[in-house]
């Protein structure tokens, strides 16, 4: 009895918060769009022109893929820093295996996905079985992949057939196909989190691994699944980049800074870095905020170095706005946990150090 109540509590508050946080992200997104439209309008351009909207949506797609996977991992209170290298690796594998022949597309995609699953599996097993902190584990696997990439590829290689390049090039009206695929993946991930058992367990394990285990969840499985899915979505991002560039590149992932930017987008989307609470749609909102800010700065021709300054300030300011609201929301959960005096206390005690760890 005493063990089941605390487990449900984070989940219940989780669903309530999910609504709230998505709402805040939505408001922030609208605010960013309004400010952006005004700024772009001041330049004498139209923010809502079809071309501009396509630019923004295109900008969303790659980071979107990576951030969807990253959301799952962060929900489980882990991190994945290996994503940029997985992105580069999969773009290279895809381009080399396709070698300009459309008949090779299915095989190449399959190999890329299998490699991604293996990398994710390695990450997940290192985190769960060897008990290595996710930060270090994925930093390590990322470095290993980087070593492989640097040793075996000197520059771009392979060739992507035109049929595959169409994925990155075509669109339905102003909406690129790649963004549609990304949104479909987001929908699948959201469904996975909301409706499947493993998805629900992710919230539980991320919220409090101890309590999750005591209430009968095999805590390793959701974590491993999250890492595998994260690598797979990173591989999808790599495939998309290969289709856009027409070749595979060993530095395309690191140049995009997808590791830290995806984490920033996830946190911007209202997912707690310490795990247990968050949503896919918030992440998509966070990615959209990034895309809009980048787009506005490109239209205004801001100095590329100043762009980084603005990006950094936006990340911190947006998360500050978000957390300053959620600080009040966190209280009820802790006091609710503490009110039945004797039983619920260990939960709060075990939870407290994690609170500082973020």
């Amino acid at each position: 009895m005493s063990t089941t109540t605390p487990t449900r509590a984070p989940r219940r508050t989780g669903s309530r918060r999910r609504l709230d946080s998505s709402l805040i992200v939505g408001i922030a997104l609208v605010a960013v769009i309004v400010i952006g439209a005004v700024l772009v309008g001041a330049e004498g351009r139209n923010f809502f022109s079809a071309g501009n909207i396509r630019d923004i949506l295109t900008g969303m797609s790659v980071l979107g893929f990576v951030a969807i996977g990253q959301t799952l991992v962060i929900l489980c209170a882990s991190l994945d820093l290996s994503v940029p290298y997985v992105v580069s690796l999969s773009s290279l594998i895809a381009a080399e295996l396709m070698a300009g022949d459309p008949a090779n597309i299915p095989f190449a995609v399959l190999v890329v996905l299998v490699v991604a699953v293996l990398i994710g599996l390695a990450n997940g097993l290192i985190v769960t079985k060897l008990k290595v902190n996710g930060f270090i584990a994925t930093l390590g696997t990322g470095l290993i992949i980087k070593g492989y990439l640097d040793s075996n590829y000197k520059g771009t290689s392979g060739e992507v057939p035109w049929e595959f390049q169409l994925i990155g090039a075509t669109g339905v009206g102003p909406v690129p196909v790649s963004t549609l695929i990304m949104l479909a993946v987001a929908l699948l991930a959201a469904f996975f989190l909301a409706r499947t058992r493993t998805g629900n367990h992710m919230f539980a394990v991320g919220g409090n691994e101890q309590v999750a285990r005591l209430s009968g969840i095999r805590t390793a499985r959701p974590l491993i699944v999250a890492h595998v899915l994260c690598s797979v979505t990173a591989a999808l991002a790599g495939l998309l980049l290969a289709s856009r560039l027409g070749v595979g590149s060993p530095v395309v992932g690191t140049q995009g800074g997808y590791d830290l930017l995806s984490i920033a987008a996830v946190v911007l989307g209202g997912t707690l870095l310490m795990g247990g609470r968050g949503s896919i749609w918030g992440t998509i909102g966070g990615v959209a905020i990034f895309a809009v800010v980048d787009n506005v700065m490109s239209v205004m021709q801001v100095n590329p170095f100043l762009k980084d300054v603005v990006r950094g300030v936006v990340i911190v300011a947006a998360v500050a706005v978000y957390t300053s609201r959620s600080v009040d929301r966190r209280r009820p959960r802790f006091s609710a946990g503490a009110e039945p005096p004797a039983q619920a206390e260990p939960v709060a005690a075990a939870d407290a150090p994690k609170g500082g760890a973020a």
């Binding site: 390590g140 980087k146 407290a352």
Partner: protein, 397 residues
């Protein structure tokens, strides 16, 4: 467990204890360092000469200083990803503001220290007052600071500080008998390390560890959490500043001079057995982690491994090192739980440990109602069950 240590303080037992410490996660980094240094000496015998060795120490000094700064942030339960950008910013500031005018050295040095402290203050205040996760704050600071620095210089590194200033990083006291030259970097590293050890033994330093271990109990015991945490960020930014001063002499002005320093520092600290999430770790081990990491690179270099594989080997080593300490923690948790936190128990265990252990034995079984009082009263804090719980949350997550 406590009985064994109290009955046999003989030489053999001490040697065994030393061996156990070396094999334990806390001491493993020293073992690794010794192995790597021996490997270095075997692969390149001239390395064993004192003058060569001191050059090695000189090269490691900036990394070790950054790792020492990062240690305080990590043991306080946070991250500092902005260190690399701070190093770059300071190097560029030194290059641009000092120029060839040696008289400006001291004022600019003061400005750099003030700037470093200011960056740390901003990081710390945003983390503590606005409650933004430090990962995000320092990530934003990393982007903003690097972007601002590059914008200021127009993307290319310009300027070259006066030779007198560069002397700090590359010069030294000449004419020392055995080692020929004692680089200033080594002196600075020794001073920083000594100051860090002294500081972490002070009540304030211990408060940082307490805060990283459990912010709630730290607050109940009267800590001003916001100030303690902010000060850790100031320490790390200041240490990045010192590293920048050394690097500007050693490596010159370059916009990517600090790139990757934050991850190297975190890797070194973790290699030193410091637990991410805070509350466990020793500053000397963190510095030793930096030495081990650089020694590893040197060994790979001597062994003729292509530099592109260096990353792969580094990745494998850090995973293995952390996995080793994590699994050892798991198997010896009961022992470590008591031993790890209060420093007094391990050397002078007979007096301190015996009264605790029966209590501890009793407290494992009964209801958590008793545990609730425990965090508030300071000394008998290491109740096996609670410390086990947070070991697991930290090692696992």
């Amino acid at each position: 467990m406590s009985a064994v240590t109290s009955e046999r303080p003989s030489a053999g037992a001490r040697l065994a204890a030393l061996g156990r410490t070396l094999v334990s996660p806390r001491g493993a980094v020293f073992l690794l360092l010794i192995v790597l240094l021996i490997a270095m000496a075997v692969l390149n015998p001239s390395f064993a000469e004192p003058s060569q060795f001191i050059r090695f120490v000189q090269r490691v000094a900036p990394v070790a200083i950054v790792a020492i700064g990062q240690y305080f942030v990590i043991v306080g339960g946070e991250f500092d990803l902005s260190m690399g950008s701070v190093v770059t910013a300071q190097v560029v500031i030194a290059g641009n503001l000092i120029g060839q005018d040696e008289a400006k050295s001291l004022p600019v040095l003061a400005l750099m220290l003030a700037f470093g402290a200011f960056i740390g203050l901003v990081n710390g205040l945003i983390v503590t007052l606005l409650k933004v996760p430090s990962f995000i704050v320092t990530l934003g600071m990393m982007l903003a600071l690097l972007g601002g620095t590059l914008y200021w210089t127009g993307g290319a590194a310009t300027g070259n500080p006066a030779d007198g200033f560069r002397e700090i990083g590359r010069g030294g006291i000449r004419g020392i008998p055995v080692i020929d030259i004692l680089p200033w970097s080594v002196v600075v590293l020794a001073v920083v390390l000594a100051a860090a050890i002294w500081f972490s033994k002070r009540p304030f330093g211990r408060t940082i560890i307490a805060l990283g271990d459990n912010p709630t109990t730290a607050r109940f015991s009267g800590t001003r959490n916001w100030w303690v945490k902010t000060s850790t960020f100031m320490i790390s930014s200041l240490s990045a500043t010192v590293a920048g001063v050394l690097l500007v002499g050693y490596a010159g002005v370059h916009p990517s001079v600090g790139r990757g320093y934050e991850f190297i520092a975190i890797t070194a600290v973790v290699l030193g057995g410091v637990v991410l999430g805070g509350g466990r770790g020793w500053v000397v081990a963190a510095a030793a982690g930096a030495f081990a990491l650089e020694a590893l690179f040197t060994v790979l270099n001597f062994a003729g491994v292509p530099s592109t594989y260096r990353d792969a080997v580094q990745g494998a080593i850090i995973i293995l090192a952390v996995a080793y300490s994590a699994t050892t923690f798991r198997s010896r948790r009961r022992g470590r739980g008591i031993e790890a936190s209060p420093d007094a128990t391990s050397p002078t265990s007979p007096d301190a440990a015996t009264p605790i252990s029966p209590d501890a034995a009793n407290k494992t079984s009964p209801a958590p109602a008793e545990e609730r009082d425990a965090p508030a009263s300071a000394r008998p804090a290491p109740i096996p069950s609670t410390s086990r719980a947070d070991n697991e949350t930290k090692g696992g997550s």
